[in-house]
Amino acid sequence: MTHFFCRIIKDFRSLCRNIILKGCDFLIRLNDVNKVFTDGHKVLNNINLHIQKGEFVFLVGSSGAGKSTLIKLMLKETEATTGKIVIDNEDITKMRRRYIPHLRRNIGVVFQDFKLLQEKTVYENVAFAMEVIEASPREVRRQVPIILSMVGLSKKYDLYPQQLSGGEQQRVSLARAMVNSPKILIADEPTGNLDPDTSREIMKLLVEINQRGTTILMATHAKDIVDNMKKRVVAIEGGRIVRDEMRGAYCRET
């Protein structure tokens, strides 16, 4: 009897959720996503995450919690084992291979390991991201220096990644992620190699971009930053979402 009652409530709740979700303008929608690696390690466990257009979301969690894996799923860098991932109204789990570039052009990413082209200069690395989406050369020449000065690298434009400090590389990666004004900007630990002052500058920049309408998802370990910003915080632990607060802090408020 209780069992039956429970089931009705459950059904009803999921029904309500579906109605609500359909109504809202969710840019990113993960439903019951699981990720099991070939070695049997279950990295993501039943993830449900919905992010609206224009939100600023922190993704926190201890090292190895599954933050980067979650991001990789959204980029189709790796496939979800089960579940549904909808980005910008497209179900990417069913997406065909040749539409993947299209998906990635809508998402600017600061990778945790930067992923800069070693054979290209700072300028070329950023310009390259524009060339990929077939921007006109004039636009490239106009836009790239602006972005580089925003991240404080105007003077380093013709150095190669090898000749940059860790923090500078990270900022090139950020510049590249921003240059096409993507709908979604995903940043994996974008201040890990930056001193507090530079971090603050970068965060200002992100907030600014966010206010202009870009949805931002940022995985980070920087407690200060998360605590100060008072934005939505999604905490992952052991592959599960353990907390999702609208004006949260790095740690659970006690």
Binding site: L75, E77, R98, I100, P101, H102, L103, R104, R105, V109, F111, K115, L116, L117, Q118, E119, F128, A129, V132, I133, R176
Partner: protein, 276 residues
């Protein structure tokens, strides 16, 4: 890294080019030798000038006949004497009772037709006998055929081997840039955006390799022709292919192969690393 690819492709094309040249020359020489095969139609004694002329015309009109020359008894004896000047004691007393007949000397377009031609001529009136060294010719044809097939096989094998080598070289070049390719894909580049530069590079490398190869081979060949025409040619009963002729064939062949290999190598090699 392109340097490695260019030298590899050049090296490979050089090997193929050398072989193509050898094969072309071989074919040229074989054709040459084959075309030197003559057929002799011995005529009955004492034919008039006009009869001989009309016979000549008849023979000339046969399929596959190249030239027809008349050789009189006397000419034949002169030749015979020249040939056997070592054993001159054999010829004593031949002058007054010349046993050699008049003959028509027939050359053919291809020795493959020898049998039919000889049969046709035999059937003509006033022809005593047709001689053309059947066994020798058969042997020659068999040998040249075997060698031609061998040459083609060898070139085919070389082509396969070269494609392997080049594909490997390009694969390694691409492998060394696999990170670059994956990053491009992460930033949203389409497969073709990534592929084009590699393909262009491959084709350009192929063209550069071809040019170097053709230059190297033709200058060496020119040198060969020069030195050989002085010393060796007199000794052998054949000439090697003239420069102007071989250079066109070789250039065409080598350039096609170079471009093809460069293109294919790139396409195949990049494919594997696009799956990101």
């Amino acid at each position: 890294m392109s340097l490695a690819s260019v030298t590899s492709i050049t090296a490979t094309l050089l090997v193929i080019g050398i072989f193509v040249m050898l094969a072309l020359n071989f074919d040229y020489i074989a054709t040459n030798i084959e075309s030197q095969v003559e057929m002799k139609a011995f005529l009955v004694d004492g034919l008039g000038q006009d009869v001989i002329e009309s016979m000549k015309k008849n023979v000339e009109s046969l399929d596959g006949v190249k030239t027809v020359t008349f050789e009189s008894k006397t000419q034949a004896l002169e030749k015979f004497k020249e040939k056997f000047n070592n054993n001159s004691y054999l010829l004593e007393g031949l002058d007054d009772r010349n046993p050699l007949p008049d003959s028509l000397i027939v050359t053919m377009i291809s020795p493959n037709n020898a049998k039919e031609i000889s049969e046709s001529i035999s059937k003509m009136s006033d022809v005593e006998n047709v001689v053309y060294g059947k066994e020798v010719l058969d042997k020659l044809l068999k040998i040249t055929y075997a060698l031609r097939v061998g040459c083609l096989l060898l070139i085919a094998v070389l082509l396969i081997i070269s494609t392997f080598i080049i594909a490997n070289t390009i694969k390694l070049t691409v492998f060394a840039r696999r990170r670059e390719i994956s990053i491009m894909k992460f930033v949203g580049a389409t497969d073709w955006f990534v592929r084009w530069p590699f393909i262009i590079e491959g084709v350009v490398i192929g063209i550069i390799g071809s040019i170097i190869t053709v230059l190297a081979l033709s200058s060496v060949y020119m040198y060969f022709v020069k030195t050989l025409s002085g010393s060796m040619l007199g000794i052998m009963s054949f000439t090697i292919m003239p420069f102007s002729e071989i250079v066109i064939d070789t250039t065409f062949f080598v350039t096609c192969i170079g471009i093809f290999i460069g293109f294919l190598g790139s396409v195949i090699s990049v494919r594997k690393f696009l799956k990101v």
